[in-house]
Symmetry: C2
Subunit: 470 residues, 2 copies
């Protein structure tokens, strides 16, 4: 997952503005008779509990494709692989919808303390980072314990220095600490540049204590000239912070051979289970096919495309459904959300009953939230009763959606969030450690069961999911 | 820790031949009155439970020195830092005992699958690896599920191929799986070279599932020309094994710019708490100051020098002891045990009451074993009763000693093992992840308490620890 800084802050800290029209779920007090659960849904949940389609998809993707950064040849191979897989799984109308994406490319990168004592550091450039000169920068460090402290630095105060921002991120089940602590990555480089810094290194936005740096995109504000910007691993950042606190001036050497290389081809891969009632609207689900170059994109977001695809496939067995289920493996999500924007541009005029994505790993779904019109309110108790069977509670939170479906949600399309536990996700997010090893097959199957449950209820619901025109 | 392949196999699989003269501990059946524990020892254990000297040592070493591979300038800085620390801690006779060490140096390294699909792999050369040509090797893979399978390959069968040996290592509390599975590293490259392989990659000898490869020394047998030899991370090795099992021929590209650079200065750092009875013999304890270049040497073996030094320092408060306690921060351990050999060469003629080392991380001591002459047999129940108070059991296993003190044990010197739990140790051993983050301060303090307990009992014991001349 990624997000632009402002959209993320708005979404996670204040609740999505897009969702303000959705009804708040009614808190239930005392014993209320639950909605009955359709035996077909129960049977589907049982099948999901033994279905290995999702694990096979993410295994194939991480083994036979591997890293697939935006605009790369590998991303192209991923699309071809995707078409082959989706056809083999029985989907209809499988095709690629191409578009171009502005592409940033990582080169050689290194960092080291050179004074008061030499110490090599593990580092990864942030997406959109400027390059250092080829010989690197060797400059004193200006340390800030947090992004907020950086904001307090006066203009010009960082000239001739490398800013070092070291706020730590604590694990949260809903991932909200990514929004607050992540500002050091989303906005830190732009704010350091405004204050004259020659470069910036941040403590990785991650909840681990490893040597694997967490990359991710950073956004330079309009008018701000990009500077070299990188993340140190949490372990290296803590070591650097200890050195700084010993009181002697600390000098860093930083090399980032990272460049913007212009537009390159990307694309969304689209597949369908055609429905019987086109006017009831398309159910759009999916995840993103691209990933950062450091890992193999298992939890971000091989899991998301695997979960939504496996869930949709489970529905193929039940005869035709009212609504078309459209599975999209979005292209660029990580560097700007161009995949979701391209989808919206191409499909905004089609009636959509729902837009939802899975993009927070493969740990169990623990909560769901909805953004439905009043006409679909009766669906909520049905979803609640069915999802409770597999350990998912109905939260009071409005939907966040996600980068891929945000442009559709912004048009007023209904949404559902199936929130995964993020307690481990940010240990590995955007690192070399985002590999198949991080996926627990049992929890992955619970995800498939949750999505299959929601799809089964939504695909055939007689209630209108498309808001009435005002 | 490291060991030469044969010494290790002999020690761990069959029990150390050096220890065959030691008395087996008597299994206790039924309720036997325990030996009383000296109140001074209890007070010492309580002080150890709140002592942060060990954590301060390993923090300083990993922050202010960092990686310190054998024969490097950084190892020299580590010795200077060590002298400063040991003097500041109040030790006497602090000095460096220099010697030269044959030095192997890592350069640029990379590996990737090039067919049937591109896939970058995380790799680290093994100590003593030969270099590849500068442009690397691009050759088909010959896969062996285990070292034993490699041994079954006929001579010449690997010509023009890169051998890939992928046996997995399960965690064991006593670390014995390192001895059995580690043969792929200790001897695999030599055996692959004998069979004509152009190079070898092995699955890291580690119990993790990360991207961090485990380096370590490999030994080419006399007459065998070294070949390029490297370890893939466990995660990458599993990915490569999955690719191989898909059935298409797999081609690897491997670059190892690793070289033997000849003899370089190394040295042991020696410090003492002088005793009152020189004839009672020196108690030699310590760990090793060198470490592999990938991490910062926290668990291997900053912890060992920190634990033994902090324990000795706790004894300073109790007035003079009968025996001199000599703490040695050994130089080269990882690439050939030259530090321990240099010590034995210089000190073999001095009377030694005991030689013991700490070199298996910083997790809790769970067991102890002794190699004592009959004259010191009464010490065993005293040690047992005192160590049981902090959760350490008396094992039936004879002592292993370790690479640093092995040359002294081979001369018949008494020994004690304070076995640490190795259940997590091999997750990070010899990787970039061997950093301060891996040390649990509580468990580290329990180690200090265990060593302080043993030292307090042994330093003043009236029993003879030096075996009588036959």
């Amino acid at each position: 997952m990624t997000r632009s800084a402002l959209a993320l802050a708005a979404c996670l800290l204040a609740g999505s503005a897009l969702a303000q029209t959705a009804p708040l779920p009614v808190p239930r007090r005392g014993a209320v008779a639950p909605a009955p659960v359709d035996p077909a849904v129960i049977a589907l949940q049982d099948r999901a509990a033994h279905d290995d389609t999702a694990y096979a998809i993410v295994t194939g993707l991480t083994t036979q494709v591997g890293p697939r950064p935006d605009g790369s040849a590998a991303e192209g191979r991923a699309r071809d692989w995707a078409v082959e897989q989706l056809k083999a799984l029985g989907f209809a109308n499988v095709h690629i919808e191409p578009y171009d994406v502005p592409t940033w490319q990582r080169g050689n990168e290194s960092a080291a303390v050179v004074a008061p004592n030499p110490l090599p550091l593990h580092v990864a450039g942030l997406g959109n980072s400027a390059p250092t000169p080829p010989e690197g920068l060797t400059l004193p460090v200006a340390w800030f314990a947090s992004f907020n402290d950086l904001l307090l630095a006066p203009p010009g105060s960082l000239t001739g220095r490398i800013a070092f921002v070291s706020n730590a991120m604590a694990p949260t089940q809903d991932g909200s600490s990514y929004g607050s602590e992540g500002r050091a990555r989303f906005m830190g480089p732009s704010e350091a540049a405004r204050r004259g810094a020659a470069a910036i290194v941040i403590r990785s936005i991650g909840t681990d204590h490893s040597r694997a740096p967490h990359t991710g995109v950073t956004d330079f504000a309009p008018g701000v000239t990009p500077i070299p910007a990188a993340a140190l691993s949490v372990s290296d950042a803590e070591n650097l912070e200890r050195l700084v606190k010993l009181g002697k001036p600390v000098t860093l050497h930083l090399v980032l051979d990272d460049h913007q290389i212009g537009p390159r081809p990307s694309g969304n891969v689209v597949a369908e289970i055609p429905g019987t009632h086109p006017a009831a609207g398309v159910i759009l689900i999916g995840g993103h096919l691209d990933c950062w170059d450091l890992g193999t994109g298992a939890i971000d977001d091989g899991a998301g495309i695997a979960i939504t695809t496996a869930a949709a496939r489970l529905l193929m067995g039940g005869g035709p459904h009212r609504r078309t289920i459209r599975v999209v493996w979005f292209g660029d999500e990580e560097t700007g959300g161009f995949g979701g924007q391209a989808y919206a541009k191409a499909h905004a005029r089609e009636p959509h009953a729902l837009a939802a994505e899975s993009d927070l790993g493969a740990d169990r779904v623990w909560r769901f939230g909805t953004q439905f019109p009043e006409s679909a309110a009766p669906l909520i108790p049905r979803l609640t009763a069915a999802l409770e069977r597999i350990g998912v509670v109905h939260g009071s939170k409005l939907v966040d959606g996600g980068t891929d479906v945000e442009p559709m949600l912004a048009l007023g399309v209904s949404g559902i969030d199936l929130n995964q536990s993020a307690l481990r996700y940010f240990d590995w997010h955007h690192t070399s450690e985002d590999t198949l090893d991080r996926i627990d097959p049992d929890q992955l199957r619970q995800n498939v069961a949750a999505w299959a449950t929601a799809l089964a209820i939504l695909a055939d619901a007689p209630e209108a999911l498309i808001p009435a025109k005002p």
